[in-house]
């Protein structure tokens, strides 16, 4: 099926260089547009300007991580030999998932970078459950996040421990639930599922497949990132934060409120500890843990990115399970504390 006429395997180096030169000329042209337009326009009204600034801030903050994730994903898909993966990972499914949830320790890419990586894992033949376990655990179980959380909270109230243990538990719970699904492929967006199916049959040299993968993955993820950033920016301007924060010190409501805040604000898991610390020290520890757990696994920007990979219904299910688990952990801690 796949082998209808393809272009010649690799053109002469000259032709590739020519194409790349055209692309870099495009980049130069874009830079020129940027430099010229800066002085042309008058400033926008404050609210509109803030909307643009906040959206750009989310986009620019995430962009290098998405690029890094795509590079890592390409490495895993195209360059790591299958037998290496087979040799390293345990055979039992549960242990395999547990091992995958610790991959973030050696690959510290925060949550937006994990989406391309999880896609790469699935294209590589990993199961949906395994990829999801990695996806949810890696933003929390990685050295950068652990270090910043420690800086922000130290050992106070067990927040750090609860975040690490909770992240591991929730990710593996979701992985186990997904592994019981009779047809996990049905959870995936049809287009992405098809791309997974043909991955093994992909022809062409490694470099060529890498570049193709780059075009594919950026075309799938960057539009989603634009949508996610714009939504996150719009909600920041539209919804005053104190709406969420005045819910106060109730064990359940404050956990829910902080989870809603985490969802809306869509900041990176590696720095969210500082953010929540800066909002004041009046929150209950369990609510902070709910914020730190849920925000790292699910937020507006992540949903937009994940929608490229999972079907809407599967995503709702995923978000619900993660949300409930985080709420139970946070609420429980609040009641005990």
């Amino acid at each position: 099926m796949p082998s209808t006429a393809r272009p010649a395997r690799t053109g002469p180096a000259l032709r590739i260089a020519f194409g790349a030169a055209i692309a870099l000329a495009l980049l130069a042209a874009l830079l020129a547009v940027r430099a010229a337009s800066g002085a042309l326009l008058p400033g926008l009204p404050a609210a509109a300007a803030d909307l643009v600034t906040l959206s750009l801030s989310v986009f620019i903050e995430s962009l290098p991580f998405v690029f890094l994730g795509i590079v890592c994903s390409t490495l895993v898909r195209v360059w790591v030999p299958e037998r290496v993966i087979d040799r390293v990972l345990p055979r039992s499914p549960a242990l395999r998932r547990a091992a995958l949830s610790l991959v973030g320790v050696v690959m510290p890419v925060c949550e937006c970078g994990n989406v391309p990586l999880a896609r790469g894992l699935m294209m590589r033949g990993f199961s949906v459950a395994e990829a999801a376990t990695f996806l949810l655990a890696a933003p929390i179980l990685n050295p950068v996040t652990i270090l910043t959380t420690y800086h922000a909270f130290g050992w106070d109230h067990g927040i750090l421990i609860a975040r690490i243990a909770g992240g591991f538990a929730v990710a593996n719970l979701v992985g186990w639930l997904l592994s019981t699904h009779p047809e996990p492929g049905a959870l995936l967006e049809p287009r992405f599922r098809a791309a997974c199916g043909h991955e093994h049959a992909a022809p062409g040299g490694r470099l060529r497949r890498s570049l193709e993968g780059l075009a594919e993955e950026t075309s799938a993820l960057l539009p989603a990132l634009v949508i996610g950033s714009a939504l996150a920016g719009a909600i920041q301007v539209g919804v005053p934060r104190e709406l969420l924060l005045v819910l106060g010190a109730h064990p359940l409501w404050s956990a829910l409120a902080l989870m809603a805040l985490a969802f809306v604000i869509s900041i990176c898991s590696s720095v969210d500890a500082f953010f929540i610390l800066s909002l004041g020290s009046t929150f209950m520890p369990g609510s902070i843990v709910a914020f730190l757990l849920f925000g790292a696994m699910m937020d507006l920007k992540m949903l937009a990115l994940l929608r490229t990979t999972f079907r809407g219904r599967a995503l709702a299910y995923l978000a619900a399970v993660v949300g409930l688990s985080c709420l139970v952990i946070g609420w429980g801690m609040n009641l005990v504390a």
Binding site: G11, I22, L54, F67, R191, A194
Partner: protein, 283 residues
């Protein structure tokens, strides 16, 4: 991934290039800090440079394909059968794919407008009002710095006169004020600059104090949180508009107003109205 669409794979590389151009230009003009914390600047620029090379390679591949004729568009060869089948089974004909593609180009236009055309800007001071906590304490509740609790930099350089350089920033002072209500600061002289922000105390005729505030950024502008130093000045609201920028020189004293949540305030000796600085955030 429909056969009918040839330009779908261009969306990613073009969007990527737009983002890269915006980032590189902001970095070159020293404005990247308006959007993200400077500690990420090197990483961001490096990743963008790497991605630019990769996307240029991807683009050259796409150009080569186009030259080989749209009919032989690699999509047709790549899993065409599988995709068409699964797409059809779910009732998503090529029209849907075309729509998705058009939507993608619409997003490219949106990204162009936001990243390349709109003038770069820092957050408006109007947003600071919205981001205050209900109790009015947020302006002074931020920890000193992400270096850990209780970081009180430049304890010795306290009487610095400029707002920049090694002198304590608004954020540093706010952090020190948080410790024991700032009693240790009584008698210290300070010069700070920031925008005027009502700090939650009554702004009426008896208005006794306002905050000289700045946005503190810990990761990117999205998490910007106003931090401020309370300045005691009766009737300030008649003289200074909220959101306007001022430089205040003065000395920290015990707050004469017992109803205020701030135990220690800056008693101004001199207040100068200034223009908003080029780099308005504190990190």
């Amino acid at each position: 991934m429909s056969r009918s669409t040839g330009s779908r794979l261009w969306i990613g590389p073009v969007l990527g290039m737009i983002g890269i151009a915006a980032v590189l230009w902001l970095a070159a003009t020293g404005r990247l800090g308006w959007y993200i914390h400077p500690r990420y600047a090197a990483f961001t620029v490096t990743m963008c440079a790497v991605a630019a090379l990769g996307l240029a390679g991807a683009a050259s591949l796409l150009i080569e394909r186009t030259r080989n004729g749209p009919g032989r568009e690699a999509d047709a060869g790549r899993a065409g059968g599988t995709v068409a089948a699964s797409v059809d089974r779910h009732g998503r004909p090529a029209r849907r794919a075309r729509l998705a593609e058009q939507g993608g180009w619409l997003l490219v236009a949106l990204a162009c407008a936001g990243l390349l055309i709109a003038p770069p800007a820092t957050l408006s001071t109007a947003l600071a009002q919205q981001r205050q906590l209900a109790e009015g304490t947020s302006a002074t509740s931020l920890p000193a710095a992400p270096g850990g609790p209780g970081t009180a930099p430049a304890e010795a350089a306290g009487d610095g006169d400029a707002a920049d350089g090694d002198a304590p920033t608004v954020r540093d002072w706010a952090g020190m004020l948080r410790q024991n209500g700032g009693v240790a600061l009584e008698g210290r002289r300070a010069t700070i600059s920031g925008f005027v922000l009502a700090d939650g105390t009554d702004a009426g005729s008896a208005a006794a104090e306002f905050a000289v505030a700045r946005f503190a950024v810990s990761c990117c502008a999205v998490d910007a949180q106003p931090v401020g130093v309370p300045v005691a000045l009766a009737g300030w609201a008649d003289r200074y508009a909220e959101g306007s920028w001022v430089r205040v020189a003065g000395v920290f004293v015990a707050n004469p107003d017992p109803t205020s949540p701030n135990a220690v305030v800056l008693r101004p000796a001199e207040i100068t109205e200034i223009d908003a600085p080029e780099d308005p955030y504190v990190y």
